[in-house]
């Protein structure tokens, strides 16, 4: 199951199908294109504006493709309390334009921060060296 039509067909009969469909599209294609928005709106009998409104609201949904590997770095209060801010500039320097460091607010690892997530892999007790190493190997 890997086309836009597949994803729409799999979920359109559910209650509140839009977010499940958008999640599948985002995961499969890395973004939700104008064409996808058009097709989804059509299938769910919504306007393109309504669908675009939902896509643009949520941080997880992207409208533009980005081939860079992503590391989600938590910069919420508990990780700040454990020193994440001191690591950011070195990590960004290591990332350069090759890797995307995305700020997230909380991974639920608040007593063992600083914490980051790459895909579904979680990393805690980060130090400047560990974080940069993580970024470098992506």
């Amino acid at each position: 199951m890997h086309t836009l039509d597949d994803f729409i067909a799999a979920h359109c009969d559910r209650e509140g199908p839009l977010l499940p469909i958008l999640h599948r599209v985002q995961a499969a294609f890395g973004h939700i294109s104008e064409v996808s928005i058009f097709e989804i709106a059509s299938a769910l009998n919504l306007t393109r504006a309504e669908v675009y409104g939902v896509v643009s609201f949520y941080h997880d949904f992207k409208t533009l493709p980005d081939a860079r590997p992503v590391i989600k770095l938590c910069r919420a209060e508990a990780c700040k309390a454990r020193g994440v801010e001191t690591m950011v500039s070195e990590a960004e320097a290591t990332a350069g334009s090759r890797v995307k460091i995305e700020t997230v607010y909380c991974l639920g690892l608040c007593s063992v921060g600083p914490a980051a997530m790459v895909g579904d892999q979680v990393h805690a007790r980060l130090t400047p060296a560990k974080l940069s190493a993580l970024v470098a190997q992506l």
Binding site: D60, A78, Y105, C106, G108, L109, C110, S111, V112, A124
Partner: protein
């Protein structure tokens, strides 16, 4: 040799999988269990009740031949022994997706009791227990259930709010990853009590392990709770979708915008139907209450804060983790006695309780007992009971700025005080930090705070003034103000 290692996200993030593999390679039988919630010791390895802390691959051989230093009987460790684990009774002890383990440890007793007692008596038990919403609002769960039970509607819903976005909180995540059947049982009891056969668990996307465990647990237990049908819905990175009405909008496939109340979700909730929407911990407390009695639960705690609260010790704290205890314990006891003070070893300067919308509390107020009313009287809030500790390197002006920054980033945009106020608040705090017209700008922030507090549609805009004003009032020196009377 049976070795127990957690597969909770904290354990995984600290390297538990590699340790587990090394034990398997050495010939041990490895059981992946929920976390004991002693996060500073993870990866924690248990053999016959005895714990080995912060285990690395290089420690495996010595643990296998019995020569490694241990922390003694985990159950008797002071961090565990001082708790009253009602909700977290299985933490560290059972395999999360083992129906056998769940049934052997009292699972499904609450549901059976509910079926025997009938819906009305079940609601009565919840009312007697005094259980209050553990998400933060502290509204009596029994009253919410009663309202939905009596409401007119042909398709009622149970919605579990698992959008635990507050920094400093992870109890919901631990329940979903460590004891998912308990949450399922609680939801099934709620459904039975109010006449709802369909349920949704809205889990934030930042919790992939919790999502996977809940989906697996739902499938495994489907026949046991049938015809009650539970479905997982995944959030998409919006903190505001932890607000109950924004969450409902999100499930309905819309922008996560907050709804005006009334109508309450209990009358018109998901898809316009009467809906019980409760936090994970609220629903997770229900099986114990139905198994042991409402009055038994109410005997714990203080005043109108009955029962126990799974408190989450986080931030710059030495002994971080899950500490479940009856309401009434003081903040100082939690931070110093149990938490051990800061991880850095430096003095505690501030503690934020209740997430990003919670007040910053200075050490001189640490005699505050953990109690909904007590905290409210001190202009603070318990929220979801996350405690984030900061040492003396914290700059409270930066934290106040972050409070506005966070609000601006996460605002749903519907109401002006939050949408615009947070941006203007950021700009104004930026000027204060740069040293421009400090007193006038602080007065402006205080005025803005009044507008946001009384004019916002929900707690995101409404409570942002708590961290901001508490920072200004308790640490004026960080803002370039002299220590003087409170800024009103």
């Amino acid at each position: 040799m049976i070795v127990r290692i957690s597969d909770d996200a904290v354990a995984l993030a600290c390297g538990a999988d590699a340790v587990a593999e090394a034990f398997v390679a050495s010939g041990a039988t490895v059981e992946r269990v929920s976390s004991w919630g002693m996060h500073w010791l993870e990866p924690l390895v248990e053999v016959d009740g005895v714990g080995y802390a912060n285990v690395e691959i290089s420690d495996v051989a010595s643990i296998m031949n019995g020569g490694a230093p241990d922390i003694g009987d985990i159950e008797r460790h002071p961090f565990i022994a001082r708790q009253t684990r009602l909700t977290f009774m299985r933490a560290g002890k059972t395999k999360p997706l083992s129906l056998e383990d769940y049934t052997a440890t009292g699972g499904w007793v609450g549901l059976k009791n509910a079926y025997s007692a009938g819906p009305t008596a079940t609601i009565e038990t919840i009312l007697q227990s005094g259980l209050r919403g553990r998400g933060g609002a502290g509204f009596p769960a029994g009253i919410k259930w009663k309202t939905v039970a009596n409401a007119l509607g042909d398709h009622k819903y149970i919605v579990c709010n698992a959008d635990e976005g507050d920094s400093g909180t992870f109890a919901d995540r631990m329940v979903m990853e460590g004891d998912p059947f308990m949450l399922i049982e609680g939801m099934a009891i709620a459904g039975f009590a109010v006449g709802a056969s369909k349920a949704y668990v809205y889990i934030r996307s930042e919790y992939p392990h919790a999502i996977a465990k809940m989906e697996a647990a739902i499938e495994l237990s489907a026949q046991l709770v049938a015809p009650f049908d539970i479905e997982v819905r995944v959030g998409a990175g919006a903190y505001v979708c932890g607000e109950e009405t924004a969450l409902l909008e999100s499930i309905e496939g819309k922008r996560g915008e907050v709804r005006a109340k009334p109508p309450l979700p209990a009358h018109e909730g998901l898809f316009g139907q009467p809906t019980v929407i409760n936090n994970v911990l609220t629903l997770a407390a229900v099986p114990w209450i139905m198994a042991n009695g409402g009055e038994t639960y109410a005997a714990f705690g203080m005043g109108r804060s009955t029962g126990t609260m799974p408190i989450q010790l986080a931030g710059n704290i030495k002994h971080g983790g899950l500490f479940e205890v009856a309401f009434g314990i003081t903040l100082g006891e939690l931070v110093y006695d149990i938490g051990g003070g800061t991880a850095s070893g430096r003095p505690v300067r501030a503690v934020q309780v209740g997430g990003p919308l919670g007040a910053y509390i200075p050490p001189k107020q640490f005699d505050l007992p953990f109690d909904y009313e007590g905290f409210a009287a001190a202009d603070a809030l318990i929220g979801h009971a996350g405690i984030v500790v900061f040492d003396d390197t914290v700059d409270m002006a930066q934290m106040a700025h972050f409070a506005m920054e966070f609000c601006a980033a996460e605002s749903c945009g519907k109401c002006t005080p939050c949408r615009i106020g947070s941006t203007r608040g950021m700009e104004t705090l930026g000027r204060i930090i740069a040293g421009e017209n400090i007193e006038a700008n602080v007065a402006l922030i205080a005025d803005l705070s009044q507008t946001m507090k009384f004019g916002s549609l929900c707690a995101l805009g409404g409570f942002t003034p708590y961290p901001v004003m508490s920072a200004i009032n308790h640490w004026p020196e960080d803002f370039g103000l002299k220590r003087a009377a409170r800024v009103e």
